[in-house]
């Protein structure tokens, strides 16, 4: 899957520990994006450093490194600093949202989300970058 960018579609890294939700995001974005999947923060960072994607969808509560930790590390890395990130989380109190935005998220999407909203956010983040 890592070489999916070759067909011209932008590459999206989906970081989510819940299998069903990861599958939902992949199915939703599958037509417009080449999706790469990670189930935890450490795998996500490894994949990011291997080849920066055009977009990242990031869960917060995960085993090991949390989404916020991943985001902070990314924003400290000059290569990964510009990758657009949408945090997708079930924790959505004003404090949780602020923490995600402070850590460097471009957008915040609360669970449960609408699939068309997810698709439009993904599209706008990629277009803005171009």
């Amino acid at each position: 899957m890592n070489g999916a960018g070759a067909d011209g579609r932008p590459r999206a890294l989906i970081v989510e520990d819940e299998d069903t939700l990861r599958e939902l995001i992949v199915v939703t974005l599958g037509e417009a994006f080449a999706c790469i999947e990670a189930t935890d923060g450490d795998t996500a960072l490894a994949l990011l450093r291997e080849s920066p994607p055009d977009l990242m969808l990031l869960d917060v509560a995960m085993p090991g490194l949390s989404g916020i930790d991943v985001l902070r590390e990314m924003r400290a890395d000059p290569v990964l600093k510009e990758v657009p990130v949408c945090v997708v989380s079930a924790w959505q109190s004003p404090g949780d949202v602020a923490k995600a935005l402070e850590a460097g998220a471009d957008r915040f999407l609360a669970k449960p989300f609408r699939v068309d909203e997810l698709a439009s956010i993904a599209r706008s983040l990629v277009e803005r970058r171009r």
């Binding site: 939700l21 939703t28 509560a61 085993p63």
Partner: protein, 502 residues
């Protein structure tokens, strides 16, 4: 030493003071009596002296009358006075004898004087009167005069001896009286000083033994009123005061204990409130994941055309996630039942071994990542219980064991009998539970360290499990070695009748 009560001590001290005052008064009385007696003796001595002097005077008068009779050439007038004086003499002598009757030495002297006087009168006076009638010159001669002087001198000497003795005795008595008065004085002064000292000591003791502890108690009570319940008084006071002090201490002690308990309860309540807030937040989070899947996939299924097999797969996901939501709803329903006062059980005999096989099959058919060791006897273990509810307990223990064991970890399920009870245990190979959390894992909403991990849960499963087991008349507990895993074991009574179902 036996400890006297305060009242006993006060009574004892008052008795001592009363005794001392009594002794002083008695001594004074004795001294007064002694003085009065001395006075009586003194006045008697005066009477003896007066009586003796009177006898002496009579003797002198008799001598003068006789001499007058002789020298006046038998003037009858002198003889008449002599006869009068002579008549008066026995009365005076009898008076003297009466006065010295209780004193043998003086009485002896008085008798001697009387004898000498009788001798003087009979042997000399009477003879001189007879001679004077015959020969006045002889009667007035020097021989007669010598005899007279000799005899009267002898009488005077005896009487002087009585006077001197009486005088000496009187002086002795005066010395004795002074000594008695002095002793009485000393007893009075020492007694008064002693009483005053005793009263002072009594006052000091009351101040030390009663007033001071009372004041300290009052101060401590003020501290307690201000809220300082740690204040304690020195114990060991006298009798009732000591009892008051120890009652005060036990009062503050129990107040402190109850306040600590109240604070603890308050803290627990606050924690429980926090748990509830956490629960609401966690519930909404727990609901959001399956809800996202249900909403997302139905939305995709409605908007897009998927091939048949994909369509079926997404519908299966929707089905599973909807069931997950239903389970969550069930948990909350159980919590309401817990708070409403327990479950209604439908009791019937059934085989716990069969239940163990069924539940492990259900849980481990999905989870290839965990190993199962099922250690059950060949014979059935029949219990009289609500099968669905006990299945819920077993399911909860199994899902926890899988949830908290790492991938590749082993879950061990053991069923057996012990002392008329069925035993069911589930061991995991997880992180274990710290000792301080072991009691509380069965509390509602308590999730221990799991709260900070991403392991989902409502913190209700074990609370519901405990309620079900105890309603069956059983017990549930946990043993754990941090780092090596935990073993949850429940016991329920064995059935007395065999299982009816196949």
């Amino acid at each position: 030493m036996r400890r006297l009560s305060l009242v006993g001590r006060v009574a004892l001290l008052a008795s001592v003071v009363a005794l001392v005052v009594g002794v002083i008064v008695a001594s004074a009385l004795v001294a007064i009596l002694s003085l009065r007696h001395s006075e009586a003796r003194e006045s008697q001595a005066k009477d003896v002296t007066v009586a003796t002097l009177r006898v002496q005077e009579l003797a002198v008068e008799i001598q003068s009358s006789l001499r007058g009779y002789v020298l006046s050439s038998r003037n009858q007038r002198f003889l008449t006075s002599l006869r009068d004086q002579r008549d008066e003499l026995p009365g005076a002598l009898a008076g003297l004898n009466r006065l010295v009757a209780d004193d043998p030495a003086q009485l002896r002297r008085a008798h001697a004087a009387a004898e000498e006087l009788r001798g003087y009168l009979q042997d000399y006076v009477d003879n001189v009167i007879v001679i004077a009638r015959i020969s006045p010159a002889v009667a007035a001669g020097p021989a007669s005069g010598d005899e007279d002087r000799y005899r009267t001198q002898q009488i005077r000497n005896t009487l002087d001896l009585i006077l001197a003795t009486e005088n000496t005795r009187s002086q002795h008595r005066a010395v004795h009286t002074r000594a008695v008065a002095r002793t009485a004085e000393i007893i009075g002064i020492v007694g008064l000083a002693g009483s005053a000292l005793l009263v002072l000591l009594f006052g000091a003791w009351v101040a030390h033994g009663v007033a001071r502890p009372l004041r300290q108690t009052a101060e401590a009570a003020t501290d307690v009123a201000r809220g300082d319940l740690s204040v304690r008084l020195d114990e060991g006071g006298v009798g009732e005061v000591g009892a008051l002090v120890s009652a005060f201490n036990s009062m503050t002690r129990s107040l402190e204990v109850s306040r600590r308990e109240l604070l603890l309860q308050n803290e627990r309540l606050r924690e429980s409130e926090q748990h509830k807030r956490d629960l609401i937040s966690m519930v909404s989070h727990e609901l959001r994941t399956p809800l996202s899947a249900v909403l997302g996939f139905t939305s995709l299924l409605l908007e897009r055309d998927f091939p048949g097999d994909e369509q079926r797969r997404y519908l299966e996901i929707v089905d599973t996630q909807a069931r997950r939501l239903a389970t969550l709803a069930g948990d909350f329903l159980d919590v309401q039942l817990l708070e409403g006062g327990g479950f209604e059980l439908e009791l019937a005999p059934f085989d716990l071994v069969e239940l163990a096989r069924e539940q492990t099959r259900l849980f481990f058919s999905h989870s290839e990542s965990h190993g199962l060791v099922l250690d059950v006897p060949d014979e059935p273990v029949i219990v009289n219980g609500d099968r669905d509810r006990l299945a819920q307990v077993v399911g909860n223990l199994l899902s926890n064991a899988i949830k908290y064991s790492p991938d590749g970890g082993e879950v061990r399920v053991v069923v057996g009998e012990r002392g008329g009870r069925a035993i069911f245990s589930v061991s995991d190979s997880g992180l274990g539970i710290p000792p301080e959390d072991r009691e509380r894992v069965f509390d509602k909403f308590f999730r221990g360290a799991a709260k900070t991990t991403t392991v989902g849960g409502t913190g209700l499963g074990l609370a519901v499990a405990r309620e079900i087991v105890t309603t069956h008349g059983g017990t549930i507990d946990v043993e754990s070695t941090p780092g090596h895993g935990s073993t949850f074991t429940f016991e329920v009574p064995l059935s007395l009748t065999p299982a009816v179902s196949a």
